[in-house]
Amino acid sequence: MTEYPSNNGYLSGSTLEKVLRAGHFAVTGELGPPQSADPDVIKEKAALLQSYIDAVNITDNQTAIVRMSSIGAGTIVVQEGLEPVIQMTCRDRNRLAIQSDLLGAYALGMRNLLCLTGDHQTFGNHPDAKNVFDIDSVQLVSLVSAMRDECIFQCGDKFKGIEPRFFVGAAAAPFADPIDFRPYRLAKKVKAGADFIQTQLVYDIPAFERYMEKVRDLGLHKQTYILAGVGPLKSPGMARYMKNNVPGILVPDEIIKRMTDAGSSWAGKSKDELTKEDKKARASAWKETGIQICIDLIQQLRNIEGVSGVHIMAIEWEEAVKPIVEGAGLYPRPVVEQPAAVT
C-alpha cells in the first residue's frame, strides 16, 4: 500500500476534512453543471463561490436531467482552485461503472465524494430511460470506504497501487417519512462508513432539533460530521411550493409570512398593474429577505450540538453565497494546509 506521509492520519487529506477535523464550522456549497459542454459556466460559478466555501458539491445529473458529468465539471473546478465534492448516484451506473469512475475521479484530483441513491428518472428529461440501481446509497458508502481502507473492490478482489482515498459523505433526509426511522437510517450510513453527512434543506429549526436530539442519543454526531442543509428562498411562491410539493422539506408558516411580508409594498397591485421596475424591486426585496432568513437559520443551526457545518444549496443563484457566508459571520474561511497532489 502506498504511504502518504503528507496525509498525517487524514482519511483523504481534503480541505473539507481538514476544516472539520480542526473543529471549524464547515461551509459547503453546490454547483450544478450546465446542460452543455461549456467549461466557462463552471468557471464563472466557481469564481462566485471561491473563498466563501470550503468545498463545493458538483451534482450528478440532478433531478435526472442530463448535464455535464460531475467528474468532468469537478476536474474544471479543481483546475480553478476550488475543492469539489463529487456527487455519485446509483441511478445511472452499476457497480463496475461506479468503481471505475471513482478511480478516475481520484486520479484527476478529487478528494470528497457524496454517495446518493439518485432521483428516479421519472422526474427528469429522459423518463423513458432504463434505470440501474444495482446498489443503493448505503452500499455505495461501504464500497468506497472499503476501496480506501482495505484496497478492495466490491467483489472482494484486492488491488495494488494507489487506492482512491475519498472523504466519504452521505445524505440525510431528517423530515422524510417514516420520520421515526430517519435517525436510524442515518446510523446505517454511519455504520457503512460515512465520514460526513449533508442534510436535506432545513427551515424548521424545532423539528431539526428534535431530530438532532435522537441523533445525539445514538452518538452519531461523534462518529460523523453533520452539515445541515440550508438554502435561500427566492420568493414566497418558492417557499409554498417546497412546503407543499417537495417530500421531506418542512417550511414553517412563519417563514412563508416573512417572505410574503417582504413583498407587501406591491401586494395591493394586480399582475397587470405591476411595472417591470415594480417586479424587479419586489424580486430584489424577496431575495434580500430570503438571504436574511438563511443567515438566521445558520445562526440557529450553529447552536445545535452535533452540527459541524452548513451545506448551502443556492443552485442557479450562486451570487447569494457570498452575502450569506459573510452575514453569518463565517467569512473569511479558515486556511488549512492544501491537500497533497497525487504524484
Binding site: 432521483d119 444495482d134 461501504s142 464500497l143 421531506g248
Partner: protein
C-alpha cells in the same frame, strides 16, 4: 399470477397484417383470471377483428379457441389442426404463451395480442398490482413479506429513500412506498431491528442480469433407459 393487458385493437389489426385467416388463441390460466386473454376475451377480440376488418372493406376470417395453458406442450397439441389451417395466430397468452406457440408450431406465424405486464395480484376488484420481480433470491424474510425489489421504485435494500411521503412514493401519489409498508409491518411485529442491519449489494446473477435462466431438476427428468 402473470398479469397482462390487451393491446389496442388497432395494434392487433396491424399485427395480423394481410393474413386472411386468423386464429385468436386464448389461455385459460393467469390471463383468464386477470380478464385479459381468457375464452371470453378471445371471443370478443375475434369478433372485434372481424368487424374492424369488415369496416375497412377487407373482412378477414377470424376464429378463436382457448387452451387450458399455452405454456405447456400437451395443451397446445390439442389445437394443432386449427393452427395448421390458419395463416396467423394472435395469441392472447402472456409472452410465454406466444413463444410456446412459436416454438411448438414453427411453420405458423404468431403475434402477441397482449402486453405482459407483471407478476402480481388483484389488490381489489379491477385493480392489479405488482408483487414479485422474480429476482431468484427471495428477500421477503428480511422485509416482513413485502418485496422492496418489485415494489420500491429504486429496488432499495436499505430503504427508505428521502422520497417517501405520507406512505406514498415520490414518483406517483398512487404508488405505495414499499419501505413505509415494510417499516409499518416490522414495527407492528416488534422486528424493527431487522432494518438496522446493513444489507449488502445483491447478487443479481439469479435475476435476469445473469442471462436467461433455467432450472434443471434431475430428480424429475425423464432419463432415457440405458440399452
Amino acid at each position: 399470477m402473470i398479469v397482462a393487458e390487451q393491446k389496442p385493437l388497432n395494434e392487433q389489426k396491424t399485427l395480423i397484417g394481410g393474413a386472411d385467416n386468423v386464429l385468436v388463441v386464448g389461455c385459460g390460466t393467469c390471463v383468464t383470471v386477470c380478464f385479459a386473454g381468457g375464452s371470453r376475451e378471445a371471443a370478443i377480440t375475434s369478433a372485434s377483428l372481424r368487424m374492424a376488418t369488415k369496416l375497412d372493406g377487407n373482412g378477414r376470417n377470424v376464429s378463436d379457441v382457448t387452451v387450458q395453458r399455452q405454456c405447456e406442450w400437451e395443451y397446445l397439441d390439442q389445437i394443432a389442426d386449427q393452427v395448421k389451417e390458419t395463416d396467423i395466430v394472435l395469441s392472447l397468452g402472456c409472452g410465454i404463451g406466444v413463444q410456446a406457440i412459436a416454438e411448438h408450431f414453427p411453420d405458423t406465424w404468431v403475434v402477441p395480442g397482449l402486453n405482459t405486464t407483471f407478476l402480481g395480484l388483484p389488490s381489489e376488484q379491477g385493480v392489479w398490482t405488482e408483487r414479485c420481480a422474480a429476482c431468484g433470491d427471495c428477500v421477503l424474510g428480511l422485509t416482513g413479506g413485502i418485496c422492496p425489489i418489485a415494489r420500491c421504485s429504486k429496488s432499495l435494500l436499505n430503504g427508505p429513500c428521502g422520497g417517501s411521503e405520507d406512505g406514498h412514493c415520490e414518483i406517483d401519489p398512487d404508488t405505495d412506498c414499499a419501505w413505509q409498508l415494510i417499516y409499518d409491518r416490522l414495527n407492528s411485529k416488534n422486528k424493527l431491528d431487522l432494518l438496522l442491519e446493513l444489507q449488502p449489494p445483491k447478487d443479481w446473477r439469479t435475476s435476469r442480469d445473469g442471462g436467461p435462466r433455467k432450472i434443471i431438476r434431475e430428480d424429475l427428468r425423464l432419463v432415457p433407459e440405458e440399452e
